[in-house]
Amino acid sequence: MATTSFTAPKLSSPTFQTLCRNFPLSLPIPKTLSSFSFHLSPFLSRFHLHHHHYHPPRFHPRRLFAVRAESENGAEPIRHYDFDLFTIGAGSGGVRASRFAANFGASVAVCELPFSTISSETTGGVGGTCVLRGCVPKKLMVYASKYSHEFDESNGFGWKYDTEPKHDWSTLMANKNAELQRLTGIYKNILNKAGVTLIEGRGKIVDPHTVDVDGKLYTARNILISVGGRPFIPDIPGREYAIDSDAALDLPSKPEKVAIVGGGYIALEFAGIFNGLTSEVHVFIRQKKVLRGFDEEIRDFVGEQMALRGIQFHTEESPQAIVKSADGSLSLKTNKGTIEGFSHIMFATGRRPNTKNLGLESVGVKINKNGAIEVDEYSRTTVPSIWAVGDVTDRINLTPVALMEGAALAKTLFQNEPTKPDYRAVPSAVFSQPPIGQVGLTEEQAIKEYGDIDVYTANFRPLKATLSGLPDRVFMKLIVCAKTNKVIGLHMCGEDSAEIAQGFAVAVKAGLTKADFDATVGIHPTSAEEFVTMRSPTRKIRQSSESQGNMGHEAETAAGV
């Protein structure tokens, strides 16, 4: 309901509203209006009454717009469908699209697999990856694991523990799972309150307007695929002994010694979690550095900081096989040798879209070689009545992006307002310890895209660390376009990075300049104030005029104040 405040229904022709109120839904209405739900029209008029004053004062012609379902197919006869929208998968994107669609007056159903902490072909749960097997349980585990660092810090501030604090794994798991149960209930409630019909079962597409859920058929004007992704484990001998992130979030007991394969954000987050919960942690990465795709300086910095906290990195080391010993422990054979004695070996080697057994091939929904559904800018698949949002499309796999895509789709379909998700300056965080927050371009991307840039960096020991005596540091970086003075990238690794980056993301998204940052007064004493007090660039990178392409840039060290 919330969105209506700024994006109230644009169907404002009085005659149309009269129609809505007075006629049953089966009325043959001109095609241009037919993608709106009529039997929920009381909702529409209610929103009109309550939210009318938030309308931007602009006229919205009731134009037909190109991506509307069936628009290319004008000759199709009017049909009655069970639902205006049928969503397969009640994760972040699916729930958002369904709720908003219902709020805009559509009749909506969503199907989802039964709840389980471990996902499979037959288990899922309302809430999806984020709530059940991703962001939320991960963050709860991060909170739990951070305490061991906080206990260490607190020693420097005068706190003493007669006996070293010990961690009880089962308490954490019980409390975490109770919270997940609560959340899945809340999500069901949200759907229910929005008037969305929730169907438990596995959805499969039968034809462009029909979904089969465990043998029962439902017709819908539009079908939304939002089935997400699942962890992928490469096919090596002994892979059956490995666990993925689903299992890692719900282990029955603490792993004593764990190998984590992978250098992406999931690998780093779990490395931090297990390390904080006092496991011995080894991370195996194929590359020289962690977090491919992130800013190079951030990659170096986070690796160093994590190593200082006791995580052992094995770089350029790829797993080849897992062997189970007689005593039950696991050995990991890599290109460099064999390391023995692991209680657990976790693979964080990527995620794949859940597109198998959805019936996609038979209806002609095109998928790419990774199994991701191909969609256009409006999240429409190659079949006009079928749409897809979230991780299943493998665009930017983040909950808030799926939310954006879901919200945009609901607007496009049911509010007569074609809306493309905007992928510029999407901020993100890695909840490693220390965490990373970022928005915009990396230095490498910025050079490629803009050529001439100024880079401001700060690498400092935060006030807390000077007292705790721990080797924690903070790294911050601003990347500024030399020509326009716009801040095009902002990166931070250190305590509170994720929280700090959000506000700056508003500024970067709004296209603010370095001068705007400089004009802002600091909040003292914080770490964040460093971002508004960076006076001299660490280096200025200029394309040397004679060089061709993007390779010839030079770094000059600016004179410090």
Binding site: N175, A505, V521, G522
Partner: protein, 496 residues
């Protein structure tokens, strides 16, 4: 770049315009504003001298220290104690996350104090180095103005030095003020509170401002019993009313006993401690009583009358928009001018002063959308207008977006404490006029929001920003439904 021409022992070197002055600039007071102005002026090529009283954690007429209030008796030591105190709650929260921690924890106040003092000594040294690196001549002693271009410095041994300067900058800051009630000498101020020998067992805090709530939070977090007395219905006058109520609720939730609309009338020394008597006739015994009832500018011993520098009735030096006093050669920045008493504001004033006087670029400090934080536990942070200010100042309708939620960490820890966020928006222009938050990490979160507000960001721009999930901060970009709309007509307009 800087003509770093001043070298020790060359004080009599002539400046550009002839040999009239010992210095281009003489700064009295080496706190945040003074040091900034001195360094930047020197970087512009000015020959700069600065004087400061000898260092000690507790200030007096004759005690100060390079670094000033912020570094020695304010922001920095306060934040260190807040960090220390926050662990108290953190350790409680750890239990539901599976950590088995002793029921009775041992906290060593002396250790924390020692480490705090070490850190302050370190910073004091850093500030001195900053000055010497910028070729600013540092003199220890009390500065007095003896003429429009003349300063006298009384050194610790009593000898007096006299210098002439083309410009004089007053940056002497402020000091805590005690209300004149019987027994007031039994109470301490924030200076002493940052350097107590022992952690109070039962502390009484008198005052409703940010210093009062910060110290109440510190002592409570470290395990003391704390009673907080203030005159108004809610603490933190001047802040958004809704936020004030939340802070009050949180302080109470953390175990601080609040006594709103209550004044202290008398303190009496007894064998068991200090007897505190209120205007409601209440009595209680405390081992520490803190007065956090405001601060007054340090202008008394500057001899301002002699040259006719105007001060207002609170003792603050009167200045124009460029920090210029009524005497053409004398300027003032920071708390001594009692404009907005924050370190970063003093820095801004110092920077603008240096630019204006030595950088050849007239430059006024901009007081719009200055963010600030109260390091209570949990903290409060704001930027821009409060809801009340917005309603008062905006001609049209005001939209208020609020979000009150249980932070994710509390879902497992079981702590009953909500985080609240608020955006105040001009309905007509869609500009975000004010943002506020009370909850963990609020000051860190608010800094970036402040950049957006400073540049006139609209609510639509907030909405178009994608969230960082899961964070508390993402709530600021996902406030979709308006909590209330205050219409222009419905507003009680004050006469203007």
């Amino acid at each position: 770049m800087a003509r770093k021409m001043l070298v020790d022992g060359e004080l009599n070197q002539t400046n550009k315009e002839g040999a009239e002055y010992d210095f281009d600039l003489f700064v009295i007071g080496a706190g945040s504003g003074g040091v900034r102005a001195a360094r930047f002026s020197a970087n512009y090529g000015a020959k700069v001298g600065i004087c400061e009283l000898p260092f000690h954690p507790i200030s007096s007429e004759v005690i100060g220290g390079v670094g000033g209030t912020c570094v020695i008796r304010g922001c920095v030591p306060k934040k260190i104690l807040v960090y220390g105190a926050t662990f108290g709650g953190e350790i409680e929260d750890a239990r539901n996350y599976g950590w088995e921690v002793n029921e009775k924890l041992d906290f060593n106040w002396k250790k924390l104090l020692q480490k705090k003092t070490d850190e302050i000594n370190r910073l004091n040294g850093i500030y001195k180095r900053l000055l010497s690196n910028a070729s600013v001549k540092l003199l220890e002693g009390e500065g007095k103005i003896v003429g429009p271009n003349k300063v006298e410095v009384t050194q610790p041994d009593g000898t007096k030095l006299s210098y002439s300067a083309k410009h004089i900058l007053i940056a002497t800051g402020s000091r805590a003020h005690r209300p004149p009630i019987p027994g007031q000498e039994l109470a301490i101020t924030s200076d002493e509170a940052l350097s107590l020998d022992d952690l109070p067992k039962h502390a009484v805090v008198f005052g409703g401002g940010y210093i009062a709530v910060e110290f109440a939070s510190i002592w409570r977090g470290l395990g003391a019993t704390v009673d907080l007395f203030y005159r108004k219905e809610l603490p933190l006058r001047g802040f958004d009313d809704e936020m004030r109520a939340v802070v009050a609720r949180n302080l109470e939730g953390r175990g601080i006993k609040l006594h709103p609309q209550t004044n202290l009338t008398e303190l009496v020394k007894t064998d068991n401690g200090i007897k505190v008597i209120t205007d409601h006739g209440g009595e209680l015994i405390a081992d520490v009583v803190l007065f956090a009832t405001g601060r007054l500018p340090n202008t008394k011993r500057l001899n301002l009358e002699a040259v006719g520098v105007e001060i207002d009735k609170t003792g603050a030096v009167k200045v124009d928009e460029y920090s210029h006093t009524n005497i053409p050669s004398i300027w003032a920045v920071g708390d001594v001018t009692n404009r907005m008493n924050l370190t970063p504001v003093a820095l801004m004033e110092g920077t603008c002063f240096a630019k204006t006087v030595f950088g050849g670029e007239s430059s006024k400090p901009d007081y719009r959308n200055i963010p600030c934080a109260v390091f209570s536990i949990p903290p409060l942070s704001i930027v821009g207008l409060s809801e009340e200010e917005a309603i008062e100042q905006v001609n049209g309708d005001v939209l208020v977006f609020t979000s009150t939620f249980n932070p994710m960490k509390n879902t497992v820890s079981g702590r009953q404490e909500k985080t609240i966020m608020k955006l105040v928006v001009d309905a007509e222009t869609d500009k975000v006029l004010g943002a506020s938050m009370c909850g963990p990490d609020a000051p860190e979160i608010m800094q970036g929001i402040a950049v957006a507000l400073k540049c006139g960001a609209t609510k639509a721009q907030f909405d178009s920003t994608v969230g960082i999930h899961p964070s508390a901060a993402e709530e600021f970009v996902t406030m979709r439904s308006v909590s209330r709309r205050v219409t222009a007509r419905g507003k009680a307009k004050t006469n203007l």
